[in-house]
């Protein structure tokens, strides 16, 4: 295990953990329910670590990316349904991330939002075309580490640590009306979806194959998934906790992503604001790249095309064309003027619905000794895998009714 590679992997995972949906839902959850939803972030992160580790292990040992498995394990029809569902949800997420980038740049520069959306897309295209795979991931992940300002800001505002720690215990707050309970349930489902976005495991496992992981990389994979994702999740929890402390009592239920940056500005002033906005920008940009490439990976792997950013663009022409088209369609969605917050809501809703079908084939293959040999799931991975599969299946069934009954969490 190379310590430098491991440290970079962890730092990249931390900086790349938060995306626009987590930013939005963490801030909203904190203002509306105080610390009571912290445990959902913690639970989702454990789930993400479990499935992330599995997808990395399968990539390292069986050299199988997620969508290749899906076609073989689910069959062509169900596999195609999953591909379409997951493609649409990831496309909407990509559009939400590009919209988020443009919004944050607008807070920094004041230039027109739509112009900035186009400029952001050009910048994403250039970075994805020019940079080698490893550096695409690292550049955005490492620059996203500026988000640590949110954790520092939380310490600076002296939150009630005992109440905050109590938020890690699974709970439903007492005294909620029936409607508030529905909103609480909606937030629970939405946060699980935002943390467990399917594109994250597509990108992570495809990245493992791009970087030619083998069994020697399994420890790095395990540490990155547990420590990296765990520390990344603490950033989202910091946003939630600061929101509970600063926004909830002021009746602010953050309606736009830029409000979250106030959490750093209140204790640290202008430089806190700028660091928060830049950290948010790079974290969201990294997620835009991941969603765009994940969709290209998914299509190419499902149909058995040549794929991979480690290849020259013309060596995998259909894969290259796929990510360019995804990027352009995502931009077109943003240019229609649709609200970024609505895109975030739709992305979270669609993602949770396809999540069980994404993780089922992965779990089956990770537990299959004929593919995985000694590296097949042991009792802990198996138990946690099925537990989280049950949780996301319940969440997937509840998502649409909760969305409609609560008007997207508005009550």
């Amino acid at each position: 295990m190379n310590p430098l590679k491991l440290t970079l992997g962890i730092m990249t995972a931390v900086g790349g953990f938060v995306d626009i949906s987590e930013l939005v839902f963490a801030a909203k959850a904190g203002s509306q329910f105080g610390y009571a939803l912290i445990w959902v972030f913690a639970l989702g992160t454990i789930g993400m670590s479990v499935f992330g580790e599995m997808s990395g292990r399968v990539a390292a040992v069986a050299k199988q990316p997620v969508f290749n498995l899906m076609r073989h394990r689910l069959g062509l029809k169900l596999g195609l349904v999953t591909l379409i569902g997951s493609f649409l949800s990831t496309l909407i997420t990509c559009a939400a991330e590009i919209g988020g980038m443009a919004l944050i740049l607008n807070y920094l520069t004041g230039v027109s939002y739509l112009l900035l959306a186009a400029a952001s897309t050009v910048a994403l295209f250039a970075s994805m075309w020019i940079l080698p795979f490893k550096w695409i991931e690292r550049t955005y992940g490492l620059l996203g580490l500026m988000m640590i300002i949110f954790a520092v800001a939380l310490v600076a505002i002296h939150p009630p640590w005992d109440k905050l720690a109590g938020g890690f215990v699974p709970q439903i707050p007492r005294g909620l009306s029936a409607k508030e309970l529905l909103v609480f349930a909606y937030f629970t489902v939405a946060i699980l979806s935002a943390v467990l976005f399917p594109y994250e495991s597509y990108f992570y496992s495809s990245g493992g194959i791009e970087e030619e992981w083998g069994p020697k990389d399994l420890l790095t994979n395990r540490v990155t998934c547990t420590v990296g994702f765990g520390l990344g999740s603490l950033l989202a929890i910091s946003i939630l906790a600061s929101s509970a402390q600063l926004f909830g009592p002021a009746n602010v239920g953050p309606e736009i992503p830029g409000t979250s940056a106030l959490e750093a500005a209140i204790p640290f002033g202008t430089w806190g604001l700028l660091l928060a906005l830049l950290g948010m920008f790079f974290a969201v940009s990294g997620a835009a790249v991941e969603t765009c490439m994940s969709n290209a990976y998914a299509i190419a792997q499902f149909f058995g095309w040549e794929w991979g950013r480690h290849k020259e663009p013309w060596e995998a022409p259909r894969f290259t064309l796929a990510w360019i088209i995804v990027l352009l369609v995502a931009l077109l969605i943003v240019l229609t003027g649709v609200d970024v917050m609505s895109l975030v809501e739709y992305a979270v809703l669609f993602s949770i619905i396809v999540l069980p079908l994404t993780y089922l084939p992965l779990m089956l293959l990770a537990g299959d000794k004929s593919y995985m040999g000694d590296y097949a799931n042991k009792w802990l991975a198996k138990g946690l895998g099925w537990l989280f599969f049950a949780i996301i299946t319940v969440a997937a069934i509840a998502a649409l009714p909760l969305y409609l009954l609560t008007s997207g969490g508005q009550g």
Partner: protein, 114 residues
Amino acid sequence: MVRASLVAGLLLAGCSKGPAADLQYITEARSAAAEWALVNNQAAQGKLTPTYVSSMHRWLRGQLKSSSTSLTQADSRYGREIEALLQEPDDAHPEELRAHSDKLKQIEDGLEST
């Protein structure tokens, strides 16, 4: 039975009118007013950049306009309150904005309890 109740609930959620249907827009407007007050308060202390402040004002005003036009009963107490909020200048005093937010919160709480 459960399925029928769920379907009925979903239909009601999609078709209702009046203050109950407007509640989500009142909540949005109340929050936007409170965010506006917080931004102006921090700006007065020199903690924000002018570009951030003007961008936030633009987005929050857009949010309020959207809430206002989505109301099914624009000529109501809350409709008039949101309209009054929209008449405030960008650099309105935080206390003024907070007063609007508090009024909307009272209306929201009243509607929720009924």
